[in-house]
């Protein structure tokens, strides 16, 4: 199975294969066995070219890896996604830009906009309080507020849909 991983604006191409449950990474002409051990769920020790890495992988609305003290999102595309892209189809994977999701869990203390309001990118939409700090949620795009899914005084989970702009 061929993959492309987008990680910190680098594209990493590789192929993974499995023989009797042992994963191999295939590079140019030769295959190397992946010396990968799971330490805890989602936490791995990988020795690659004799370099020792401890890597964690988790899914939190996107796939996030932690390696060498750096925590960064990674977008994995397998053969099917690559083919769909080559055919010019939208992969339907991209989150719609105008959807504003709660970046943190917290309490909505003030909703500053109403449905129908025209907003410009960067405008404050609402104020959330989390861990005793006030945070302004800003418009990711310009447009008109289509719907608002929260009220002031409401607690929201991380990733909850708050408002839609189109």
């Amino acid at each position: 199975m061929k993959f492309v991983a987008e990680i910190q604006e680098q594209d990493v191409h590789f192929e993974l294969a499995a023989d009797n449950g042992q994963l191999r990474a295939i590079q140019a002409d030769s295959g190397i066995s992946l010396d990968l051990h799971m330490l805890y769920p989602g936490v791995y020790s990988l020795i690659l070219n004799h370099h020792s890495h401890v890597i964690t992988v988790r899914f939190n609305s996107e796939l996030v890896v932690q390696v060498d003290g750096v925590s960064t999102p990674v977008v994995l595309k397998d053969e099917m996604a690559l083919q769909l892209e080559a055919m010019g189809w939208e992969s339907a994977l991209d989150r719609r830009m105008g959807q504003v999701l709660a970046p943190i869990p917290g309490l909505v203390t003030q909703v500053l906009k109403s449905v129908g309001d025209v907003v410009t990118e960067g405008d404050a939409l609402l104020i959330m309080e989390a861990m005793k700090m006030e945070n302004e949620l800003k418009a990711p795009v310009s447009g008109t507020v289509q719907s608002i899914h929260v009220q002031s005084g409401q607690s929201v989970e991380k990733g909850a849909l708050i408002l839609e702009i189109a």
């Binding site: 991983a5 990680i7 993974l16 799971m38 989602g42 992988v57 988790r58 060498d68 994995l76 943190i104």
Partner: protein, 503 residues
């Protein structure tokens, strides 16, 4: 000495206090909310009492309930830690009324220093320099705006009822003044139940330097030198060190005397911290006094080899200080990094979730004061600080190299933390040079954040391979990890699994 102490706090500070209690043969009593039943401070304590639901106003801030626990447990003293009720005069008074000792200063000193305006007036009276600004909390916003313009912008708007960066806002433009004051008032009201704010002049290239003091009930007041706390983001400290690379021996001496004077003038006893702002000309101004143990107290402990909690307990018992000013020696250099559950790349938004795996650094000159464990959940109910990593070295360079090593060893899987950000600070050439002030973060923000996005091609490759292998394994386990409907459906991974015949 006390027989049994009730610690009305949670997290790392509750554990920190309990450790000293146990060393001194004192029984410990923990309290906990629904969210903390299996938290480390509860596991460590000799006794534990349930308080109520997770939100702190229904648990750790519930005075009547805490006083019931005090009575039921038969504890003879209460340690408040920091935050929560540590600077609440009514609670301190209620503890004393219940016949127990409150481990902290006398109630009037807490009241005075808790009211930043009254503290300021007291300092002016005691001859300790203060920052120019309004002496009273703002009542008339337009009058305050005139004063702000007279002092000269930018000015800081600060909560009169508490510290820690909550309710604090900077105003650059006169046109933003009203809006910012209103924002600060709301935040202060929510954090401290007191919405009053005041304004003060913003100093040039300021350093935030504080002095640890100890005062007994027999009139002895000493200081244990300074902590440099200029590395802040969102007006909250992230990295602290002692000694300060900025102070000269002469200015240290002067500031130490001023700190002692500040404490003496209000009849202070127990441990406390006098915070100063020092401008680029090394003029220093009293900022505030924290009438409790500070988060960053281990920095002082590492260089002075004095257990500050032990001193607090002895003072509260009425013992005289065992050392005089000239006995205080600072050896080597200590630095502390606060490890927060937060995402530096998302403007330090708090990060919540379960800690999947944890490796805590260890080794020579390394100390971690925390209260986290594998499997514990970081909830939005409490402060996002996971703990404090402190390293000590013979000199500053060794302490910093050691901190870099310790941070590289630290793994907290499952949530975002400030470990990478702290390392970016510790490795930054300006920080290494010691020539930094409180503007460090704003000035080098892009450098620091770039470091967080700086993976070597080899590390990127390792991460990509592991991520793909992880996804295959998840698929093989038949587990649905995608919660987002817009993302790849899981059955595609199942197809891959079949195709590859992965076991």
């Amino acid at each position: 000495m006390f027989r049994k102490i009730l610690i009305v706090n949670r997290g790392e500070i509750a554990l920190r206090v309990m450790r000293t209690c146990r060393e001194m043969g004192i029984q410990t009593v923990a309290v906990y909310s629904d969210a903390d039943r299996t938290a480390p401070h509860v596991l460590f304590a000799d006794e534990a009492y349930h308080l109520g639901p997770a939100p702190s106003n229904q648990s750790y801030l519930k005075q009547e309930k805490l006083l019931e626990v005090l009575k039921a447990s038969g504890a003879d003293a209460v340690h408040p830690g920091y935050g929560f009720l540590s600077e609440n005069t009514a609670f301190a008074a209620a503890v004393i009324k219940a016949g127990a000792t409150f481990i902290g200063p006398p109630a009037p000193a807490i009241t005075l220093m808790g009211d930043k305006t009254a503290a300021r007036q007291q300092m002016i009276k005691a001859g300790v320099p203060v920052v120019p600004g309004t002496e009273e909390p703002i009542e008339d916003v337009s009058e305050a705006r005139r004063i702000a313009e007279k002092i000269g912008l930018p000015v800081l708007v600060k909560a009169a009822g508490g510290g820690g960066g909550k309710g604090m806002r900077l105003v650059h433009k006169a046109s933003e003044f009203e809006k910012t004051v209103a924002q600060a008032q709301r935040e202060a009201a929510s954090a401290f139940g007191d919405g009053r704010v005041y304004i003060e002049k913003y100093l040039e290239e300021p350093h935030h330097i504080e002095f640890q003091i100890l005062a007994d009930e027999h009139g002895h007041v000493i200081h244990l030198n300074e902590r440099e706390c200029s590395i802040q983001r969102r007006y909250q400290k992230v990295v602290e060190e002692s000694p300060s690379p900025f102070l000269t021996p002469e200015i240290r001496e002067k500031m130490g005397q001023a700190a002692v004077e500040a404490a003496r003038s209000c009849g202070y006893t127990n441990a406390g911290t006098v915070e100063f702002l020092v401008d680029k000309h090394r003029n220093f101004y009293f900022l505030e006094m924290n009438t409790r143990l500070q988060v960053e107290h281990p920095v002082t402990e590492m260089v002075t080899q004095i257990d500050l909690v032990a001193e607090q307990l002895k003072i509260a018992c009425g013992e005289p200080l065992s050392l005089t000013q000239k006995d205080v020696r600072s050896t080597g250099h200590a630095i502390e990094c606060r490890i927060y559950a937060e995402d530096a790349r998302m403007d330090f938004a708090p990060s919540t979730g379960v800690i999947q795996a944890l490796f805590i650094p260890n080794g020579f000159g390394t100390r971690f004061d925390g209260a986290i464990q594998t499997g514990c959940e970081i909830t939005p109910f409490y402060d996002p600080m996971l703990g404090k990593l402190v390293t000590w070295g013979n000199d500053r360079e060794t302490a910093l190299d050691r901190m870099h090593r310790a941070l590289s060893e630290f793994l907290v899987a499952g949530i975002e933390t400030s470990i990478g950000f702290c390392d970016a600070v510790v490795q930054h050439p300006t920080f290494r040079s010691g020539q930094y002030d409180t503007h460090f973060y704003e000035m080098y923000k892009s450098d620091l954040l770039a470091t967080l996005n700086d993976l070597t091609p080899e590390a990127a490759r390792a991460a990509a391979l592991t991520a793909a292998a992880h996804q295959l394994r998840q698929a093989a386990n038949g587990r649905l990890i995608s919660k987002n409907k817009n993302k790849q459906p899981m059955n595609r991974w199942l197809q891959i699994r079949r195709g590859e015949q992965l076991q």
